[in-house]
């Protein structure tokens, strides 16, 4: 009897989950139709259109069916764990169905899946030959990055009033709100993001890019994605002004939306107090100094400004986990590679579009180190509290927070090393493997040539998994999958499988 009741409870919960998931599918279906707008300018690529329509059709049908499962009138909220189930399922299906157009264009299943994952997770590693790829597909992958940078759930929350918005939003990694109402906050984030995009693409157009390049690069810089429409490094074709604008866009992309919002509201003191922002400035400054110091002997007098810009671009591209390539990194030496690896591991700001360990966690751990040092030089009973500022709100540094950050960093580094180990098993050398997997896990997209159209499927799947883990911040993926694994059996067993006494 209690088993039956448990199953009934599960069924009710999963109807709520199904409803939210249905909405996400419908939204995703709309998104799949968006790239077709480009056909107005490139009508010769109409042969790709059926793939997009088919993908949208599958999603719409699935979404419609899921929405029908909801029977009761009462709207139940979603908890964070249930939100994780929704987010994980939504992302996995978005990636699987999103791979369809690439398959249609002739990529293998693993390559198509890899490319779509790289799009949705805003990584930017690519197995597509950009020079021969149809413009429609190039635009499609940029659009995936734009959507992936914001996230599916936040789009949904900003559009529709559904119960459980808070759980959904938090499950996707937007754990800090701009204002004390999740829907208003989601709308503000989308508005900020949209504003950035418009300003960015106009800026890039003015700096001499074609409309197509400007749109694609604005999308991919702000989402810290890093797909490019040219095979050649940026330094060879983009104007200095365009490069500078891209640097600014990448910096915006890696800044916490909450910090950007406080900045726009003109609350300067709140911005200055923000430890995360200060940490980013210090990291950028130190890395820039180190790289310039190292490269300086090779600079000519007349191109030193350009070299400086290139160094800055590379550092911002790595720290913001964008992965735009300005110059051939393979030509660099071990120092340059290790510096980039370190920056890629740290990553961008909490609640931004960037990946990596995130500066917030590093800040928490640094403060904890500071506290340890402080305790050493003070009497044992003297109390000292470290304060963390986010926007206008302050909170004391708690042990829980330190242990969370510590565990996450351990998990991240362990996964990084394990993944690199597997890459070396594929026959790549150690430095390149470490670089490539740091880039994969941090959703960066810089590559030392290990990711190319000829890699074996196994490596592609490994890297796809790495990108997804990095984007969904491990725990959400674990929570969602374990919860599903535990509950899928009792959920699917028929109601009266057991004779009643």
């Amino acid at each position: 009897m209690s088993d039956d009741r448990y199953r009934e409870h599960l069924r009710r919960r999963y109807r709520v989950i199904g409803r939210a998931l249905g909405f996400l599918f419908l939204l995703n279906a709309l998104l799949m139709l968006l790239p077709l707008i480009l056909l107005i300018w490139t009508p010769q690529e109409w042969w790709l259109a059926p793939a997009f329509v088919l993908a949208a059709g599958i999603l719409a049908l699935a979404g419609w069916l899921l929405r029908r499962t909801e029977r009761e009138q009462e709207r139940l909220p979603l908890s964070l764990a249930e939100g994780s189930v929704v987010v994980v399922l939504a992302w996995l299906s978005a990636i699987s169905v999103g791979a369809l157009p690439f398959c249609w264009a002739g990529l293998s299943v693993s390559q198509a899946f890899f490319e779509t994952t790289s799009g949705w997770t805003t990584t930017g590693l690519s197995v597509v030959d950009v020079t021969s790829c149809p413009a429609l597909l190039l635009f499609y992958r940029s659009l995936l990055q734009l959507a992936g940078g914001a996230g599916l759930a936040i789009l949904l929350v900003s559009l529709l009033a559904i119960r459980g918005s808070a759980g959904l939003n938090a499950a996707e990694g937007h754990n800090e709100q701009l204002v004390p109402q999740v829907r208003h906050s989601a709308r503000l984030v989308i508005r900020l993001y949209g504003g950035y995009v418009v300003v960015g693409l106009l800026g890039l157009k003015l700096a001499g890019m074609s409309w197509f390049d400007a749109v694609n690069h604005a999308f991919c810089a702000l989402s810290t994605g890093g797909f490019s429409t040219h095979a050649a490094p940026l330094a060879q074709w983009a104007s200095p002004a365009a490069q500078t604008i891209l640097i600014l866009l990448m910096l915006l992309g890696m800044t916490n939306f909450l910090t950007a919002y406080t900045l726009l509201c003109g609350r300067w003191h709140a911005v200055w107090r923000n430890g995360e922002l200060r940490l980013a400035v210090v990291l950028l400054g130190m890395a820039l100094f180190a790289l310039c110091w190292h490269e300086m002997p090779r600079w000519q007098i007349n191109d030193s400004l350009e070299q400086f810009r290139i160094s800055l671009f590379q550092i911002v591209s790595a720290l913001s986990t964008t992965g735009f390539v300005i110059t051939d990194i393979e030509a660099g030496d071990n120092f340059c590679w290790l510096l980039l690896i370190l920056l890629m591991l740290v990553g961008g700001g909490n609640g931004s579009t960037a990946g990596g360990i995130k500066q917030q966690r590093l800040l928490v751990l640094l403060k904890s180190v500071k506290q340890l040092l402080w305790q050493f030089s003070h009497p044992p009973h003297e109390v000292h509290e470290e304060i963390l500022w986010t926007g206008d709100q302050k909170r004391p540094l708690t042990l829980v927070e330190v242990s969370r950050a510590g565990s996450y960093v351990l998990l991240y580094l362990a996964t990084w090393l394990a993944g690199s180990l597997v890459l070396t098993a594929y026959g790549h050398d150690m430095a390149r493997s470490l670089f490539e997997f740091a880039s994969t896990l941090g959703t960066v997209g810089l590559s030392l040539g290990l990711t190319n159209p000829d890699v074996p499927p196994g490596q592609l799947w490994l890297q796809s998994a790495g990108m997804l883990l990095g984007r969904l911040e491990f725990l959400v993926l674990f929570w969602g999958l374990t919860r599903l694994a535990k509950e899928i059996l009792p959920l699917l067993t028929p109601r009266n499988n057991r004779p009643r006494p």
Binding site: P77, L78, S79, L80, A161, R163, G164, S165, A166, G167, N169, Q177, V179, P180, Q181, V182, R183, H184, S185, D392, Q393, K394, R395
Partner: protein, 157 residues
């Protein structure tokens, strides 16, 4: 309040009250405070809850999406952090009548929150609150009324 101040002040009050994004601040996250906060948050209001005890926030709904401020509401700094300067409504629902009066009064006079409501158990204190331009809701009076409505008395109450 004298009439010269009353005019512009009430106009400002009206602007703040009709602003859908002006937050509701709730002081005290007990059973009542948590319920109010959860319902209002579900109804797409911006909500900030203040409580001295962080564990109290566990009573909030899973889909409460407002801010939680931990601190003593008798401190101006805490109230400022809760955004009382922009708030349209202040609901004071702690267990203590006297504390409620004080916080409500600070909200009305220092932060000029247009609509301040406080819970007060002791019906005899209600007139005092009203003198300070604070609306009161007394569980005692409300319960008494509910009982009395179901218990007719021939001579009236």
């Amino acid at each position: 309040m004298n009439p010269e101040q009353d005019g512009p002040a009430s106009l400002l009050d009206a602007v703040r009250l009709n602003d859908p994004v002006a937050p509701v601040v709730i002081v005290g996250c007990g059973r009542l405070g948590a319920m109010l906060a959860s319902r209002l948050s579900r109804g797409e209001r911006r909500v900030v809850v203040v409580d001295r005890n962080q564990a109290a926030f566990a009573q909030l709904d899973a889909d409460f999406s407002g801010f939680r401020v931990t601190g003593d509401a008798t401190e101006l700094e805490v109230l400022r952090e809760a955004g009382l300067e922009q708030a349209a409504y202040l609901l004071v629902t702690t267990e203590k009548d006297t504390l409620n009066l004080m916080v409500a009064q600070v909200g009305r006079t220092v932060f000029s929150v247009p609509q301040v409501m406080a819970r007060v158990y002791d019906p005899q204190r209600e007139s005092l609150y009203r003198a300070f331009d604070i609306e009161t809701i007394s569980p005692t009076s409300l319960t008494a009324l509910a009982f009395l409505q179901r218990t007719p008395a021939p001579g009236g109450y």
